[in-house]
Symmetry: D3
Subunit: 318 residues, 6 copies
């Protein structure tokens, strides 16, 4: 049985799997958990990142305001379901990911620069004061996701280079750094393979360390005649050489099927940006954006998801 | 009064037209009749084909699985509304049409070949064992629909050539064959004319023989600023020279208006692939895909639809 | 406090702002007020124009019929909410605006010409007999909106030049005319600036004269990976030199958030074409198309909207 | 025999037609007559306009400088072949046309405005002092060409609306004005018909009045897999209703065939902007740009060209 | 040593290989052999087909006239270098191929149909009277090339399906027919592999039978930032199963390098449509279009070319 | 007077400026200096890099072979004009730059990786043995150019991120590294501003150190209706903070004007990749690709070019 390596989160939000439900990931019945009504001046709140913080939870939230500017704000919660968002914008940009490394909280996000987006990096200990680091790259890139610990003596960052528009391609790479300032030893991780992700793939939540490898949820994009459809897949990366994909599901684990995923500012989007994982129970709570409009929540366990990925292993197809 | 030429289907599914409803085609109140819940592992079930079979009904169903692979499976039903689908994939591909010719059941579908889609052909007598024939064409084509009997001494196949993407054009042609292996005498049938179908048109269900000509339902596609919209139209083709269009409605007969047509994997799609027609009553049950996600059912009678087409005759506009 | 300059409309439709609602424009609870069911043969009724007329209200309505032809029909109403539409098509084309100047009613609309759309102009006194004037331009243009009085001794027309497709740009210009036949002294008014309108902008209802300037509602378009999103903004133009923008909100005032705005023939569209403004109370009722399918109604007051625009003044950002 | 209506130009540049040459338009053996060497700082000099002036000739020349800015400068010549260009830029923009009306010289050109090109208008009596008039339109348009006299009591301007890029369409329209400020009564003149011009057409030199009608040389554009090819055609317009095309050659009269037309900044361009026509002899000298790099000269006679157009009359094909 | 299977052509045009020239195909020093000057009214003459005929040579020539209409005319020659072209258009269309089968001459070409191009077929015995057969396909296709004898009891046709524009893809397929009317058993032959042909490939001259297999010259297209570049490659197909590629050069054998290939109506085009092969000497004369403007000639021998293909065998790379 | 900081190159190739020539950069009269004839199997040789080496010169040359594969080979020369190229391919890829830092020769080039191009880095002391370093970035980038010395204690690399096609944008950035493995502190340097470079800009030769700053030649790209035109510009960067542009010419210094620049595999390309600069005389020899087909040579002096840049200073326009 697969096991999560990491801290316990006894107050991880949870709801049992519906009876007779046969897939490994199930939605929270109270979805969406965050909407534009959570903050005055918000057009939409989605694609957001949460972590355990001081016995409760903190998060960085993508708030597109009524100018459709992309901003990041901080929020706090006791139960990781009901969130109180701050009004103050901490950074311009979108699609934040947050992870704790050695007691500090690192934020990576899609930073808006005049010549295109980069991966912004910042660090905090209290979610109030933030120190902005050097951008991890020049434009244009998205989906920068840090691993939650150094591997060897290096920080590792998943990243998806892109173009200046609605990029029709996208592969996951990773870069190494000794100091979060200079990055190198770039490695290819994975490309789109199956139909459901055939346009592009990009890393999602901070990878979850398990005894089987890094569990990486990611989004894959399919292009229909009416635009992009974003779904969530999963892969397991080698613990020490994380650019080696050990297993990878040949199918999505979550795709737009509910009205708050089908309908909204961008129809047909399921976009995961964070996951809470409890090492005691193996429970995982996944936070994802719905239709670029709301934040929703889904559940799985490390064992269900690892079993499912290995059972539907794309690499076994070869 | 128009009359269907063909067999009787006493157990054809049916629901009377709603009172005060003034259009010739009306939806089944229990729509959608098939959803992803009908088969484990299905992302969506839509654009499917049914025929009377041994006193009940059989069909070939488009099942896009959770990899978004396109597959065809067989299903059976007593009432043509509640369907039991088999798990076994009979062919890769999509958008099946089925027709009976001389006691055999012929399947034509969009066959996936490495260099693009072709029209695959296969034949069965029991829906269990299938013999695959030569593809009817080289890539790229879609919407291959056989007429339900030889015309003269030749099989006739409606077909819509296309390109390798979300083709922005599409005309209906037909080809002749003496043996279902070699095809020739290709004839142009029809092009988009009116706004509702201005991007492309493609044949839908197996044409229905009537004393007025072949009743051909087809789909037409309009391109809005948000992508394609698929609706259903109807035309009447000459019985002996089916490339001659005798009448053609200048408007759609069914377009996306219900939530299961507006919302789904591909918003705004009504895509007919099969029709059951009872020669005793003139009743017609049309099976169509909704939003590339579900199978839905609509009704008309040969008389209503032929009258409507002649009343709104595009060719009378000339 | 801002004040409307113009006639009183004591029977202007009205509904109080919901409690705790903090934005300046709120929707009518009975939305949508007009659907395809209002007229046999209509596929959709939207983007329409209304004016006070003989103690009640008259309007010109965009009806796309079931061929998806674009037509204009006349309608009448006592309360400006329940409308009776005539079957007769007065002109081919779409997106009408109507205004009264010196006791005559002028219609401007997107006129369909063989080589692209122009701004058609017509005049009536009774909404029954229409005199068509010269088109205000050669192809291709849209969103031609007359000011409701001469400025100096000239008629003034807002206009948005475009290309022959789903134009990816759009700026608002205006032209002057002494006789509604010859137009010149073309002036640039405004371009897209903020994200919510970053693809293009176009004038909406007939501008409303206020003591602060002309209140111009307009639509702005954002391009997501799934197509265009239309929202409504507002600006205040100089009374005598209306090409000078005095204030302009840096955000939308209304954007697609309700199911009838998110879902329909063209998802995610809020498109205002008319507004009734009562000089006695300062109340304003805005008529807008929802998802290119229905007509909906929203409310504000001149004071709320002018205050909001000045508070969120884009020009103050400079 | 066709006859030019207009003044005599005894010093019109001329070279006899080469023996055995069977087409109606022949090139000057000294081509190109103007190159970048004519002016320091010029990247290219092309698409320029000349008129008889004070016994010699004056012109307005398109000079793209080494920043590739588009500028207009004035030049003078005794023989209309050897030109002396002034350094001073009179206007920003390109593709000038010049004509004399009632003793004044009018310049129309593609004027650079922040939101796209318009048709600029200016007037001079001496080619030194220029008075700029109102632009004849809002953006985006090109190829504005005035008729050399009022028709009725109105000025008439040929114009080709376009989009903001390398427009893939283009039709010739015309507008009327009583005062060169306000324009209206826009009329469609002609569209692409034959392959050689199948992408777009635009007016060239000032139309030449003949007893058969206005002789209008124009450019037509074909799109090959390697871009646009510009050639020159000819049509004859009704003298009093110049939007009526009386005759139109179904073929080009001049197309890129010489190295200075095939090779340069934009390969494969023949672009006529001016013509001198001598009513005494019927001789016509056509000035055209070669490959967007140089000015070249070609000859014909009114009789040859009118005969050729009538012989190859596209309208006779109907 | 490779050997041609076929008739002898003692008067095959020939020029020895230049000294020190190390590539297998060399140009005729008198190139181009046919230009627009060969026929009044021609804009360009290129991409043409020749065969031995009654001791001399006959051919079908692509003549784009000065309307840029695509036409085919017949020509005759004693030496296969100096050609006399007929004025009469035998068919509309382009890119002809001619081959003799059992004493009759078959023409295949890109036939212009209202809905796109097809492969036209016609037969003659004297190049004066032509019988047109059924088109070999519905639109859209190009590059239909017949093998010069039946294989088994079937005619075989190489063909390249395409879209309606400047198609960005292209694979070679072949079809079988017993009667030149009905075609089937479509087989994939080859796709682009190397950079020089990375956009698309299409068959060129009638394949030449050799003891090593069918020698097929073909064109390959590369897309630079300035459009398409057409070069010539070669492959050897199995004699009995011609869809099996036995050898294929990994490089071009001829590419645009001379001014008449670099410069013309479509820059950078070498497009072979015919080859004469003498079984006595093994000499081969290849006719190809230069820059879509002229006909040029190049030479090789069966031994040189077969050796070269095997030496640079793409299939050996695997 | 501007002065080159660096070593002397007494045998720098040189030709005096033609009399009366008024621009700062002039071509070598023997151009092109390298063609496909320099190496058997080459389709084209262009965009290449040279440096002084052991009293003579060495270089790395882009050789596209007859498969149109992109390869790099080494060459040597005594006079820097007549080159002997090695057959051995040292790396796959294109557009090499070479510079000496501390006695070693560093090569940066556009490295071909499965998911797009990166900047490859390699080092040699003898041009025979090469050590490949880590790529400087993940895909997709081009135009990686090292500065010829550390600035502070960091290597600095100019770079132009791009997309996977013929990228329609391009800005120059630079990155810092302490070890040539990890890169960071990415800084924006410059974007297209003027028409001649309006599509994109990219660094050219290794920057030349002068007492005025780093002299950076770069290429700028304009998009005409027939594709891209590449010209050469120049800017002067701050010596210590090289992302600060001190001066920048508002015009090109060299653009396609000669037949070997206008005509070839990619028409209209001047693409500089290397420059030799002699500190004794201030003479500079610039090596550039012509039409993606040949290598050509041009001359200037540090004083002429610095004066010209300052005289035409774009930044002075502000």
């Amino acid at each position: 049985m697969a096991r999560i390596i990491g801290s316990s989160i006894p107050n991880l939000p949870w709801e049992e799997k519906p009876e007779n439900f046969r897939y490994p990931v199930w939605r929270y019945s109270g979805n969406p958990i965050i909407t534009r009504d959570n903050l005055y001046g918000a057009n939409s709140i989605f694609n957001s990142a949460v972590v355990p913080f001081k016995g409760g939870f903190a998060g960085v939230f993508r708030v597109d305001n009524i100018s459709r500017d992309h901003t990041l704000v901080v929020g706090f919660s006791d139960d990781a379901i009901n969130w109180k968002l701050e009004e103050k914008v901490i950074f311009k940009g979108f699609d934040p990911r947050v992870c704790e490394i050695d007691g500090k909280y690192y934020l990576s996000w899609v930073n808006l620069r005049p010549k295109g987006t980069t991966i912004g990096l910042a660090v905090t200990t209290d979610f109030m004061e933030w120190e902005q680091l050097e951008d991890a790259c020049y434009p244009v890139a998205r989906n920068g996701v840090l691993f939650p610990r150094k591997i060897g003596d290096e920080y590792v960052l998943l990243i998806r280079p892109c173009d200046k528009g609605h990029t029709p391609y996208g592969d996951i790479f990773l870069s190494h750094s000794k100091d979060l300032t200079y990055w190198g030893k770039h490695r290819f991780v994975m490309s789109p393979v199956k139909n459901w992700e055939s346009t592009k793939v990009g890393a999602g939540p901070t990878p979850i360390e398990t005894d089987e490898g890094w569990l990486m949820f990611y989004h894959g994009v399919l292009t229909s005649c009416n635009g992009f459809t974003y779904s969530m897949g999963a892969a397991i990366l080698d613990l020490e050489k994380p650019w080696i994909v050990k297993h990878r599901a040949d199918c999505f684990l979550l795709s737009p099927q509910e009205i708050y995923e089908y309908v909204g500012d961008v129809p047909n989007v399921v976009f995961p940006c964070a996951a809470l994982a409890d090492s005691d129970t193996g429970r995982i709570a996944i936070y994802y954006g719905g239709a670029d409009t709301v934040v929703a929540l889904a559940f799985t366990t490390v064992d269900e998801v690892v079993s499912f990925v290995k059972e539907h292993d794309l690499l076994g197809d070869k």
